[in-house]
Each structure stands twice: as structure tokens, then as C-alpha cells.
């Protein structure tokens, strides 16, 4: 309401506000343009460019200078950190670099924007940009969005400048300027507030520089505003950190801490900075009254000082942030059977790894069944599985990722490390067993990961009103639980001394799994054909049935190694007789013909 009234009241203010709006629209378009390049190239570059602190600092500097948006770079850094592609120290490096890179905007606006009629450059950019935006190619679209963004950026600056120059004739902001520390604090606050509201330090800097260029504010006030803008700019990072995990929040906190410390230093040493800027301005031949360029220099100087001050303490900063922002304490499961004593003899190593892998399997089994909405004890009870399925529902809060970190990752890593320490020194017999056990562990991890993928649509389709989709997802859940139940019965039989079960027994499961997969796919095709489900739901189902197929294949592969007592020589011969994929398909065809014949 206030804004609308202000716009109605003052056409000059309208022009400034429109300039800000156009500038922000330019920033948005730039972001969209760069977003078009994410999903491959940008991620690869990020990963390669941030493995060392100096690299991440340079990366932040260069990318922000190129993108003209420290917010975009810090938001990207936060998202990368939250998915584990960066560590906190590298993230801080990027933020430091981005803070320095953002000062390039000030130079651009002060040195270039206010001297050249930048609207002249904006127009061709907009024309070519819009033309490219309408192209089919994603790359052209992204380039178009970047050009349009730059065009609006420059156009916005032009309008802000025009607005302020008319404003000067009627009112003089300098009259409100307050001397001394009070004035400094007030203008810092204005800088913070403005940046928080418009969420762009670049836009605030553009306003400050244009206001300064037309003497609406004093040089000292503009310095305070620049300091305020530097603090306010962290708001974008803080907002983006709301939706990410603790790592992302930590980086946003680091951003805030760095910018506040830098601001405090700039505030405390304001006079020294002014003297240093005057001196440097003389050195690089900037006119003494060219306050806009001097402001840009001040902006750069205090950010450089902040970085130089904090760079040696990055690790301390990381520790401090981790101390104040504690993540959810995850008690990671440790291996129970892998110890130095077991390492003494080849056979004990194999036994220890076997036991540990079995334990890993039990954890995975719990996680998978829990994700599918089953109670583990009930699945292995006498209760009818179909009835159990009706009673169960997919839990929407089960955090499979945390469960993986807690119960799988640690043990899996320990098994791999233990095998790599032991495996290569011994005779072929033990090494062979260890090889298969390592494979079994890998299958366990893959099964959990596939379940994680499956969970996404399972949750999405949980509340679907389409009965057919629901039925198919129930089948997915049922078939996995059923396989777990059957494999458990095999394990018990072997434990009770059944000699009937060997490696070849699992071909029966493999044939059945393949058959179920073929059946489900043809059923989904039918449902799409008959318009009982949408093609989108159908493709999701096809993907998820593929995940189910993989999960089941992994489970059988695990059981082959873990559940069967293996005499090495015989099991080698059995392995030779195990049917491959083509042979399994042939069996399915033969069985089909048998049925027709019967």
C-alpha cells in the first residue's frame, strides 16, 4: 500500500523503482540463463575447481565476476554443499571469492555504467537475447536468457540513474545526511534493509552509485550504505539455506559471519580505509572528486581486507560453525566382527567378513522393508503376506538416506577396507571367497540405493486415487517382501543342514524374477493402452518396476554368496552350470510352451 501510494505520489520515485524492478528482472533472467547450463557442465567445473581452498576462492571470484551475481554463486555453493559435492571449507572459499567478485559489479556500474549511455548497449542485447530465447536448443535459450538478463540489468541502471537525476532537482538526500557514528550506523542500516528487501547487493550498489553520482548522498554515507549492502546480501543465502540440510545452513552462517566481521572491520577502520582509498585513487589516476569510482575501490578494499583477515582462520571458522550449528547426531554402526585377531588366519578372515556381511544384509533388509511400509518381524512371521500388505502403508517420514548413513555406509566401508588389507596375500581359495563376499556387500548397498529411488514415486503415488496405479505399487511392495521371506526360508533350511540347496537352486528365483518383470511390464502397457492410467504414471511405473527388478536381482546375488555353504571346488563347478540371462529366457519360453501343451 505504502509503495503504491509512493509510486502515485512521485513520478521520480516511480522511475527509480521501475529501474530497480527492471534490474532485478535482469538478475532473475541471468539466473535462469545460468540455470540452463546446470545439470552437467557447471557441476563438473564446480567439482574440479573447488578441491583446494585457493581454487575455490578463485572460482568464487571468477564465477561471480562473470555471472554478476554473488547471490547466485552462494546459492549454488549452498546447494552443492548440501548434496555433498563440496566440503564446508571449500564452500567458504567460494563465498570469500564471491564477495570479492561482487565488487566487480560496483566497478562496472561506477566505471562503465555511469559514463557511457548504457541503454544503447542494453537494446541490442535485449533484441538478440529475446530472439535466442525463442530457439529450440536449450543452450541457445540459456544464452538468450543471459543476454536478456544483461540487457535488463543495464536498462535498470539507466532508469535508476535517470530517476535520481530528476530527483536531485526537487530534493536533496544529502540534507538528511548525519555526520559521525550515528550517520554511519543509520546508513549501514538503510543499506542492510534495502538489500534485504530487494535481495540484491548489486542492485543496492547500483542505487548507491547512481545516487552518489548525482550528489543525492555524501561520499561517507555511500560508504556506510555499501557496508550495509554487504551484510544485507547474505539474506539470499540465508533464505536458500532454509530448504537445505545442516551443511547448507552452515555455509549460510559462514557467509553471514564473514560479511558481518568484514563490515565491523570496515566500520572500525573507516578513516584508515578512506585514506587508503584516496592514496590508491591517486596511484591509479582516479580523479579526487570521482566518488563513484572511489566507492567501488572502497568496496573492493574492505572485502579484500576481510578475506585477508579471515583466510588464515578458515579451519577455525569451520570448527566454530560446526560447534554452533550441530547436525543431527547420527550414531554410525561400527563393524562387530572385523578385528585384528580375525586377521591372523585366512579362514578366520573369511568367517569374520562373512558374519559382518550377513549383519550388513540384515540392516539392509530392515531398511528396505521399512521403506516399503512393512514390519520386519511380521514379514518373517506366519502371517499371510497379502493380509499384511493390506494392513501396512508406506511411511512418509522414513529417512532412508539417514538410515543408509547410520547402518550401512560405515560397515560397508569397514568390510571393503578389511578385505583390501587381507585379500591379496592369501591363497586363491580364501581370496576367491573374499571376492564373492565383497560382491555381496556391493549388492547390498546397490539394493538399498535402488530402494531409495523407488521410495520417491512410492511416496508420490501413495495418495493416488487411481486404483490401478495403487495396485501395481502394491505388487511391487508385495513381490519384494515375498522374495525376502523366501530367501529367509532358504537360509533357515541351509542352517538346519539341508544339502539340497546350492548355488544352482537360485536359478529358480532368477527365472521367476524375470517372469514377474515381463508380466508387470506387459500389464503396464495394457493399462496405458486402455487409458486406465496416464502415460506419465505408466512411465513412472515402468521405471519403478525396473528398480524392483534390480533390487530382487541384488537380493538373489546376495543370498547365493551368503546363504549357501560352499565347498570351494564344488561351488566352482556349480558356478559354471548357473544359467546366464539368455538361458533363463529360454527356460521361461520352454515353460510357456509346456503350459500350452498341457
Amino acid at each position: 500500500m505504502i509503495l503504491a501510494y509512493s509510486l502515485w505520489l512521485s513520478p521520480d520515485f516511480t522511475q527509480i523503482a521501475a529501474g530497480v524492478a527492471i534490474f532485478l528482472f535482469g538478475v532473475l533472467s541471468l539466473k535462469r540463463g545460468f540455470h540452463g547450463f546446470t545439470g552437467g557442465t557447471l557441476e563438473k567445473i564446480l567439482r574440479r575447481c573447488t578441491d583446494k581452498l585457493w581454487k575455490s576462492l578463485s572460482f568464487g571470484l571468477v564465477s561471480t565476476t562473470l555471472m554478476q551475481s554473488s547471490s547466485l554463486v552462494s546459492v549454488l555453493a549452498i546447494s552443492f554443499l548440501s548434496v555433498g559435492l563440496l566440503d564446508l571449507a571449500s564452500g567458504i572459499g567460494i563465498i570469500f571469492g564471491a564477495n570479492l567478485g561482487t565488487t566487480a559489479s560496483a566497478w562496472l556500474i561506477a566505471g562503465f555504467g555511469l559514463k557511457v549511455k548504457i541503454a544503447n548497449y542494453a537494446m541490442p542485447m535485449l533484441v538478440f537475447g529475446v530472439l535466442l530465447v525463442f530457439q529450440k536448443s536449450k543452450t541457445f535459450k540459456a544464452i538468450g536468457a543471459i543476454l536478456v538478463g544483461m540487457g535488463f540489468l543495464f536498462l535498470g541502471i539507466h532508469y535508476m540513474k535517470e530517476g535520481f537525476s530528476v530527483f536531485r532537482d526537487t530534493q536533496n538526500l544529502a540534507e538528511y545526511a548525519m555526520p559521525g557514528i550515528k550517520g554511519l550506523l543509520l546508513f549501514i542500516l538503510i543499506g542492510v534493509t534495502t538489500t534485504v528487501i530487494i535481495q540484491s547487493s548489486d542492485a543496492t550498489m547500483a542505487i548507491i552509485i547512481t545516487a552518489l553520482s548525482v550528489q543525492q548522498i555524501t561520499y561517507e554515507n555511500s560508504l556506510a550504505l555499501a557496508i550495509g549492502a554487504n551484510i544485507g546480501t547474505t539474506i539470499t543465502a540465508i533464505l536458500s539455506a532454509i530448504g537445505v540440510n545442516i551443511e547448507g545452513k552452515r555455509l549460510a552462517a559462514a557467509h553471514l559471519i564473514f560479511n558481518v566481521i568484514t563490515a565491523c572491520v570496515a566500520l572500525l577502520m573507516m578513516q584508515q580505509f578512506i585514506i587508503a582509498v584516496d592514496y590508491l585513487a591517486r596511484v591509479v589516476h582516479i580523479a579526487a572528486d570521482d566518488y563513484t569510482l572511489k566507492l567501488a575501490m572502497f568496496h573492493t578494499l574492505f572485502n579484500v581486507t576481510g578475506i585477508l583477515l579471515l583466510l588464515p582462520f578458515v579451519n577455525k571458522l569451520v570448527q566454530f560453525i560446526k560447534f554452533i550449528l550441530k547436525g543431527e547426531r547420527v550414531s554410525v554402526d561400527k563393524p562387530e566382527f572385523l578385528n585384528a585377531a580375525a586377521m591372523a588366519f585366512p579362514d578366520t578372515v573369511v568367517l569374520a567378513v562373512h558374519q559382518e556381511t550377513l549383519r550388513l544384509y540384515r540392516h539392509a533388509r530392515y531398511i528396505i522393508l521399512k521403506t516399503l511400509g512393512f514390519s520386519v518381524t511380521r514379514v518373517f512371521s506366519e502371517q499371510d503376506l497379502q493380509q499384511l500388505l493390506l494392513q501396512s502403508k508406506v511411511p512418509d517420514i522414513y529417512n532412508i538416506e539417514a538410515a543408509y548413513d547410520r547402518n550401512i555406509k560405515g560397515i560397508y566401508s569397514a568390510i571393503i577396507a578389511f578385505i583390501s588389507l587381507a585379500g591379496f596375500t592369501w591363497e586363491i581359495q580364501q581370496s576367491g571367497r573374499l571376492y564373492w563376499l565383497r560382491e555381496a556387500s556391493r549388492h547390498i548397498v546397490e539394493a538399498v540405493k535402488d530402494t531409495k529411488h523407488l521410495q520417491k514415486n512410492l511416496l508420490l503415488m501413495n495418495g493416488t486415487s487411481n486404483m490401478f496405479v495403487k495396485q501395481e505399487y502394491d505388487k511391487i511392495r508385495y513381490q519384494i517382501a515375498e522374495l525376502f521371506r523366501e530367501l529367509e526360508s532358504i537360509r533357515i533350511q541351509v542352517e538346519q543342514g539341508s544339502s539340497d540347496i546350492n548355488l544352482l537352486s537360485f536359478d529358480l528365483f532368477k527365472v521367476r524374477i524375470k517372469e514377474q518383470d515381463q508380466l508387470m511390464n506387459s500389464r503396464i502397457d495394457g493399462l496405458i493402452r486402455e487409458h486406465k492410467i496416464t502415460p506419465e504414471a505408466g512411465t513412472s511405473l515402468i521405471n519403478d518396476s525396473a528398480y524392483m527388478y534390480e533390487i530382487k536381482k541384488h537380493l538373489v546375488a546376495i543370498a547365493e554368496t551368503l546363504f549357501v555353504k560352499q565347498e570351494e571346488i564344488i561351488s566352482q563347478a556349480q558356478r559354471e552350470l548357473v544359467l546366464d540371462d539368455n538361458e533363463l529366457v529360454k527356460v521361461i519360453e520352454t515353460s510357456g510352451n509346456d503350459l500350452k501343451g498341457a
Binding site: 539340497d500 546350492n502 544352482l504 536359478d507 529358480l508 527365472v511 521367476r512 571346488i569 564344488i570 566352482q572 563347478a573 556349480q574 559354471e576 552350470l577 548357473v578 544359467l579 538361458e583 529360454k586 527356460v587 520352454t590 515353460s591 509346456d594 503350459l595 498341457a598
Partner: protein, 82 residues
């Protein structure tokens, strides 16, 4: 070491590949024998079974065992032909 023992050792060395082949065939045959026994048991079960679904399952099991046995027989033939 006497001449006789030395010759025996030499013979053993020269026949190592052959011995290995024989051992390999024996192992496969051992597995094949077990498979044959299992096939008979499943066949008997199938003959006695009246439940249609169970019969389908048993028939499939038989088909699998048969395919495994054929694979084994082919492997033995291949080893022998080497």
C-alpha cells in the same frame, strides 16, 4: 631320488593338463549327478501333485534343472574335445 621315481615325476609333470581336465570333468559330473537325483525327486512330486499352480511351479523347476544339466553335459563334451 631313484630313476623310477624321477620318471614318475616327469610323467606327472607332462600329464598335468590331462589330470586337470579329468579333475574338472569329475567335479562337473558330481554336480550333474546331484542334479539328476534332484530332477527325479521333482518329477515324482509333479506326478503326485494335483494343485494346478503347484504343478506349474514344479514343471518350471524341472525345466531349469534340465537346462542346467544340458549346460553341464555340454561343458563336459567341450573339455573332452580339447
Amino acid at each position: 631320488m631313484g630313476k623310477k621315481k624321477l620318471l614318475e615325476k616327469l610323467q606327472e609333470f607332462l600329464d598335468a593338463d590331462q589330470q586337470e581336465k579329468i579333475k574338472h570333468i569329475q567335479q562337473i559330473k558330481k554336480v550333474l549327478k546331484k542334479l539328476k537325483q534332484k530332477e527325479r525327486r521333482v518329477q515324482q512330486k509333479l506326478e503326485l501333485c494335483v494343485d494346478t499352480d503347484k504343478r506349474v511351479e514344479l514343471q518350471q523347476e524341472l525345466d531349469i534343472i534340465y537346462a542346467q544339466r544340458m549346460k553341464g553335459v555340454n561343458i563336459v563334451k567341450q573339455i573332452q574335445s580339447l
